[in-house]
């Protein structure tokens, strides 16, 4: 779907202001960024998290009374997907020192490090190994690797400011101190980061960074990291067993209440599978496919927040789930690509965000929540400066062609091959025409509470990656999620292996915590047919569902 004439006419406005905007950029003159008070005001007025009905209190469990997204509360106030009375523990299907739940960046890093410590590892994942938000992360990975212009000190300040100073300082310290080590680890595994001829890593800015510390591999950084980690996992078949299409549905505890494995679900045969393990790493990722507030999402198909539910059933508190990250730049046209991510790297390279009149209305590198709120404001009835699409949506322009003027012809195609190919399928050349964007549901800022070594209040269970909360406070900066998954994935894997090495094979495996949870639901008077974890979103045509017949009940 090339841009129709009506949009081409709007693009002329962008073109008319472009030369002047490029000149200003060359002179080093930037659109004024908001003050801290200005940011707060902008968020309160326009960010979806701040709407009156954005949050609902959880009525059961260890974080009872905590207000978070209603869509997540629904999964926490649902009944378990399994009936504890129907699960038998006489026969254990798989046995491991460390069970890693989730096959994305965090789970993959955890599996590799646990195996390196000598543990026998099982990695159980809902879809294929590597089907994860890590694979889709485009822009980059932050690390203060430049010794003459940057350090973990400045990285720390940027992370805290981006998270509105709510982040857990211990977690942030770990994140920024481990970052260069993780880059070195990935380099050693052979991840092809973009480099200068002398081997120096190329870096750029991201929203909210004071120094250029975003490392990248083209515009498919996450895919490059994920496929490298996946390939490395498959180099250790003697230590790491991979169970694909096997989502975990509940944790198993032992007689002392220590995490001791999980009940998995075979998506092909639809039977349950018992894994006994001496330690568990929870690395299930995010929850964009719950479509908070009806937003489209950039997340992969399996991102349904299952780990939150499993951990919560077993008594692990949830933190920072009151804030959800909307990525400022999701595709809003063409419709087939709606909701897909446009990497922040475009803005990192200097691309302006402009309204229907071709005017800048926000500095392009505000922290993500502030940038998103500013775009929502521009398109709101208060401003009326959005660009209407033929599909009845509204968006603003991300001016990619100005990058060709700033950095030379061919820059967009060379630096953004992924997006260039994607838009070319729709006969849109993003080196010549800007992209129409609107905020899209992107990242679960919060999750299960955990410590820098991955430990949680539940003995034997470690957490890492998007399922966890605290690293990013109320708002994550670009390039810190790939960093988060690798840093804390590795640490959780090491800790879990060590824990497992000191523990006997669990006995007295049970699901009593589910019985208690169900009792509490009953006592609270919550009656529902809903079950959780969700496992997969259902996009089946409702008319067809209405007519479906179950063959073998």
């Amino acid at each position: 779907m090339p841009y129709p004439q009506e949009l081409k006419d709007y693009i002329k406005q962008v073109e008319s202001t472009r030369p002047e905007r490029v000149e200003r950029k060359r002179r080093g003159e930037e659109f004024a960024s908001l003050s801290l008070d200005g940011r707060e005001e902008r968020l309160k007025s326009y960010h979806p998290d701040y709407k009156d009905d954005a949050l609902r209190d959880i009525r059961v469990g260890v974080s009872k009374g905590y207000g978070i997204s209603p869509e997540i509360v629904d999964t926490l106030e649902a009944r378990s997907r399994i009936d504890p009375d129907r699960i038998e523990f006489d026969e254990v299907d798989h046995e491991a020192d460390v069970l890693v739940i989730g096959g994305g960046g965090a789970g993959g890093a955890a599996a590799l490090m646990a195996a390196k410590q000598g543990a026998k590892v099982i990695i159980a994942t809902k879809l294929r190994l590597g089907d994860a938000n890590t694979m889709m992360a485009e822009g980059g990975i932050q690390a203060a690797s430049k010794i003459h212009s940057d350090s973990p000190y400045w990285h720390y300040l940027d992370v805290m400011g981006g998270g509105h100073f709510t982040n857990d300082p211990d977690l942030v310290k770990t994140l920024v101190s481990q970052a260069p080590k993780v880059m070195s680890w990935l380099e050693g595994l052979g991840a092809m980061f973009s480099k200068d001829p002398d081997g120096s890593l190329r870096t750029m800015h991201g929203g909210g960074t004071s120094r250029k510390r975003m490392h990248y591999a083209g515009d498919i950084t996450g895919a490059e990291i994920m496929r490298t980690i996946r390939d490395e996992i498959r180099n250790h078949p003697e230590r790491i067993e991979i169970l694909e299409f096997s989502p975990a549905v509940e944790l198993i505890l032992d007689e002392n209440g220590v995490a001791s494995g999980a009940v998995l679900y075979n998506l092909d045969t639809r039977e349950y599978v018992i894994v006994r393990a001496k330690a568990v790493v929870m690395a299930t990722g995010g929850s964009g496919r719950l479509h908070m507030r009806g937003f489209m999402t950039t997340n992969h198909y399996g991102a349904t927040g299952d780990g939150l539910v499993m951990a919560y059933h077993a008594g692990v508190p949830l933190v920072f789930l009151h804030s959800v990250q909307y990525h400022p730049t999701g595709i809003v046209f063409p419709e087939q690509a709606e909701g897909l991510l446009i990497t922040e790297k475009f803005r990192g390279a200097g691309a302006n965000v402009v309204n229907v009149d071709g005017e800048q209305f926000v500095y392009e590198r505000e922290p993500r929540d502030v940038e998103a709120a500013s775009i929502i404001r521009e398109c709101s009835d208060d401003m009326h400066k959005g660009v209407p699409t033929p599909t009845g949506k509204v968006g603003v322009w991300l001016d990619s062609p100005m990058l060709e003027m700033l950095h030379g012809p061919g820059y967009v195609r060379k630096e953004f091959p992924g997006k260039y190919i994607l838009f070319r399928r729709y006969n849109i050349d993003v080196a010549k025409e800007p992209m129409l964007i609107y905020p899209t549901l992107h990242y679960q800022n919060g999750g299960v509470e955990f410590k820098p070594d991955g430990a949680t209040v539940l003995d034997g269970m470690y957490a890492a990656g998007e399922v966890s909360g605290g690293v990013h406070g109320e708002n994550r900066l670009m390039g810190n999620s790939l960093l988060d998954v690798t840093v804390f994935g590795r640490l959780a894997g090491e800790s879990a292996a060590e824990y497992a090495s000191k523990r006997d094979l669990p006995s007295g495996m049970n699901l009593d915590h589910l019985r208690k949870y169900h009792e509490e639901l009953d006592k609270t008077g919550i009656e529902t047919e809903r079950v959780a974890p969700v496992i997969l979103p259902d996009y089946t045509n409702p008319d067809v569902k209405e007519r479906q017949v179950v063959i073998a009940p």
Binding site: L36, R128, S151, P169, G188, R211, R234, G392, G418, Q548
Partner: protein, 258 residues
Amino acid sequence: MVSQTIPVEVISEKSGGSAEVTLVPIHVMGRRYMVPSDLTIMKAMEYAGYQFTRGCGCRGGICGACGTVYRLPDSHRVEVALACQEIVKPDMFLSQLPFFPQNKAVYCIEELDVDEGTLAALYPEIFKCIGCGTCTRSCPQDIEVMDYMAAAIRGDIARVAELSFDCVMCGLCIARCPAEEAQPLVAILARRIYGSHIAPRAQHLQERVQQIDDGRFEDDLNELMKKDLVELKELYVGREKEPDMPDPNWRPTDSSYL
């Protein structure tokens, strides 16, 4: 296989109020469904009533889960697509290929002896390549697969890495290769060798890791962690920002904490 031309029916209906939807027929593994003409193959299958467990991953064209083959009635060609990316075509006959067997070589990347024979030592079958180009024609990412296989045979690892960089490992080339190659596995081996053995290592990164191991930033960070909110905000607002335009020689005026 169907080779006769089937007349394309186009039905219009009102949906969701004002928008007019054009429905076109597609054939999923031989069964015919009427679907909106502007949907991707993936969304069209969901419209038809499928709920995916296999053959669906990122839904954004990067994970390679949804490789699909199809034929159109007026052509003998086998076409390929990622189901999440390609718009349906009237009367396409399609099947997803969510999985295709492939045998990965197991290696220790750090300890590989790297020379022009490394790829062939781990994947000797690369010499069976007959240069037919079916792989290149089967690539939904428009990668010159045959060219990188030729480079692999020559032992030009850097070239394989460069040409294959956009590979999503969907496996369609593997499925269609008459020489039974597993091209994406050769490619990722080449990329990993390139990244770890051929491209120069980042010296500044090694130095920084050493500084961290020596505890150079411990005191600075501990000091920051003790700051109250007001002090922290002040430091944050006062950060010196590296300018946008590229300048590798830029140095902050305040070089403390580096």
